[in-house]
Amino acid sequence: MNSRERVLARVRRALADVPREERPRDFPVPRDYLRRHGDGERSAARTAALLAGNLADYRAVVHRTSTAGLPGLLARLLAEHGSRSVVLPPGLPPEWLAAADVTVVRDRETVTPAELDAVDTVVTGCAVAIAETGTLVLDGGPDQGRRRITLVPDHHLCVVRVPGQVVDSVPQALERLDPARPLTWISGPSATSDIELDRVEGVHGPRTLEVILVED
């Protein structure tokens, strides 16, 4: 008997008390928890404000602009951060960086971790943002790219389209996401609670996370 058979046989013996005819759905799971939290319907504006508040609460820097204002804002933020180079996912709209004075690295499979480590900033879009938890979810879409490009550079600028990409809650976010894609959920800059159980920002991931909410 190989280990697969052995473990499965042990599981079946251990569950001798479970009636043979029981199917998983015969064992009830109460799902009367909320699909979203808070009183009544939130307007799109209030949901965006909640997202901005929760992002800031975990030390992300939040900016707001319109589609027309985005290139100017990105150029200003890159200059303020002192960024000279920026890595972009392959499908990021080129006009976003039109006003910025930086060396652009378009990510390809051949870009090594060491090369990414030498880049100052990464600019991406996102798949979904969750207002109640201040979370951005990236799914590797064309404007988000490979997981490593939002990990190795020390500065991440993430563009969120409001209200289209914003949901209230974790359950709503999971409904929109495709589990077949590799997902990265980001809530604030890299942090740790490992020293005396107190939160300190800035370990291995980007130490500065700036989020741009774009509304039209």
Binding site: N2, S3, R6, V7, L8, A9, R10, V11, R13, L15, V18, E22, R23, P24, F27, V29, R31, D32, Y33, L34, H37, N54, Y58, P113, D117, E132, T133, G134, T135, G140, R147, R148, L151, V152, V170, P171, P179, A180, R181, P182, L183, T184, W185, I186, S187, P189, S190, A191, T192, S193, D194, I195, L197, D198, R199, V200, G202, V203, H204, G205
Partner: protein, 489 residues
């Protein structure tokens, strides 16, 4: 489990030493109180917390009741997505599989995400014996590894160390493992985090093999989930060419939708955050992004034995949040090392004796490492009734009985150490069955009450070390009733 803990003294002895360590007690008091209040606030933000908790419990119970079916479904989904699934009946087999997989890559070093399962099986030691160096990359695990220490908390294995001690460990040992700590390193947490960032970065950038655990595995999609804070997890999960994940079989959940329950319960219960900084999910391999080879090692190592116990199996619901450690009055004072296992605190007191059996001194003593106050049950996000399982395991230790060990039903003998307790109980049963003897005994006890000792002699001494003996009244209730008819005459 890991050989590191062989020969551990029983909990009372280890705890007695720990409670006299003033630094340790100060560190634990500070850390557990900080997180306790924060957790309460994070939980209070969600008005549907009891409903989420009930759902979390039910999802885990449904999974456990049909675990064979979900494991097979998971295996199919992972395989279809390009992963390779291995099964390990025990720690040795899991270590052999991982060692073999690493050797096949030709590499002699690996980077590791914090993982309870690989701690449990002693993977680092097994790799070391084969000439493979495993670098821990979680900050707390790094502190433990550099300090040649043992973990003392599920979430924050270095909780017993304060910032000054961490500074000293970094300054002293980082150079032996790679990039030394910066000169003039202070004990500011931000500087310590920066030192870890610099020390580990070169290892991340050159790593070819990553080893992880997982917080959840989704049966229907074959998706694995790792919940973390620092980004070391993302580094290990995305930069290497080969990823090996060692995961306990109880970590499976049936559906993608089920994550909506656990991704709300876990961060608030563990680090008291609305959401932890980083969560990674992956399904097999993805062309052009992340490791192109993915191995999943499904680990039993005592889990099916635990599953066979209808009362004890609820311990397998655990999502390793460590809320029960942070509220436990015993853990706060004794610290994690006294539990003699990678799983300390209340959950460890019910998990270790079930995973490992109750044959050793330390494992037989763990069900007693509790005052049964119930705080652990109250905060548990999946409603594990830890006091119920503790009492159940105490009964097993004292009375013996049928259990499953390595998949085989065996009958345990009653533990030797509890002979006096059993004799006392037998004597009590006989006396209560014989009213005359009870009456005579009570009269004798009342008459001699002035000369009763403050502490019990013989085997009862340890019990009365920390307890006051009840005072015997001048007259027993039965005698008073016979004399006065309940005060009527």
């Amino acid at each position: 489990m890991s050989g590191t803990y062989l020969g551990m003294p029983a909990f009372p002895k280890a705890a007695r030493e720990a409670v006299h360590d003033q630094t340790l007690r100060g560190n634990l008091r500070h850390a557990t109180r900080t997180i306790r209040d924060k957790r309460a606030r994070a939980v209070a933000e969600l008005e549907d917390w009891p409903a989420l908790r009930a759902a979390g419990r039910a999802v885990k119970d449904r999974t456990l009741r049909h675990l064979d079916r979900y494991l097979v479904q998971l295996e199919e989904a992972v395989t279809a997505a390009g992963g390779i699934v291995h099964w390990a009946a025990d720690a040795d087999e899991a270590n052999r599989i991982v060692t073999h997989l690493v050797k096949a890559t030709g590499e002699s070093e690996v980077v590791k995400v914090k993982s309870m399962a690989t701690q449990e099986i002693g993977l680092n030691e097994a790799l070391e014996a084969e000439g493979i160096r495993a670098y821990e990359t979680d900050l707390a695990e790094l502190i433990v590894q550099l300090g040649e220490d043992r973990p003392s908390h599920i979430l924050v294995p270095a909780i017993h160390r304060n910032r000054g001690e961490i500074r000293d460990i970094f300054a002293r040992t980082m150079g032996e493992w790679g990039r030394p700590a910066p000169d003039g390193l202070t004990d500011s947490p931000a500087e310590l985090a920066e030192a870890a960032r610099l020390h580990l970065r070169e290892k991340f950038l050159r790593a070819k093999v990553g080893i992880s655990g997982a917080n959840f595995m989704v049966a229907e999609t074959g998706t694995l989930v790792v919940v973390e804070s620092e980004g070391n997890g993302r580094m290990c999960l995305t930069l290497p060419e080969t990823l090996i994940s060692v995961v306990g079989i109880e970590k499976v959940v049936p559906t993608w939708q089920d994550l909506e329950v656990f991704l709300q319960l876990l961060p608030r219960s563990s680090t008291a955050e609305r959401m932890n900084p980083y969560t990674s999910t992956w399904t097999g391999t993805t062309d052009g992004d992340g490791p192109q080879t993915f191995h999943l090692v499904l680990l039993d190592n005592g889990r099916t034995d635990t599953l066979a116990d209808e009362v004890g199996r609820q311990a397998l619901r655990c999502i390793r949040c460590s809320a029960c450690l942070n509220v436990c009055p015993v853990y706060e004072r004794a610290g994690g090392h006294a539990y003699g296992s990678v799983y300390p605190g209340p959950i460890g007191a019910i998990l270790s004796p079930q995973l490992r059996g109750t044959q050793t001194e330390i494992d037989a003593s763990l069900p007693y490492a509790s005052s049964l106050c119930g705080a652990c049950y109250e905060v548990c996000p999946v409603a594990i009734d830890i006091p119920e399982v503790l009492v159940h395991l105490r009964e097993r230790v004292v009375e013996g009985g049928e259990v499953t060990r390595r998949g085989v039903r065996v009958t345990l003998k009653p533990a030797k150490g509890h002979a006096a307790e059993r004799a006392a109980m037998r004597a009590a049963r006989w006396t209560l069955d014989h009213p005359g003897a009870l009456r005579a005994g009570q009269r004798l006890a009342a008459r001699t009450r002035r000369v009763h000792p403050q502490r019990l002699p013989g085997p009862g001494r340890a019990w009365s070390d920390t307890r006051a003996l009840p005072e015997v009244p001048e007259e027993s209730f039965r005698h008073w009733w016979q004399r006065t008819r309940g005060g009527a005459r």
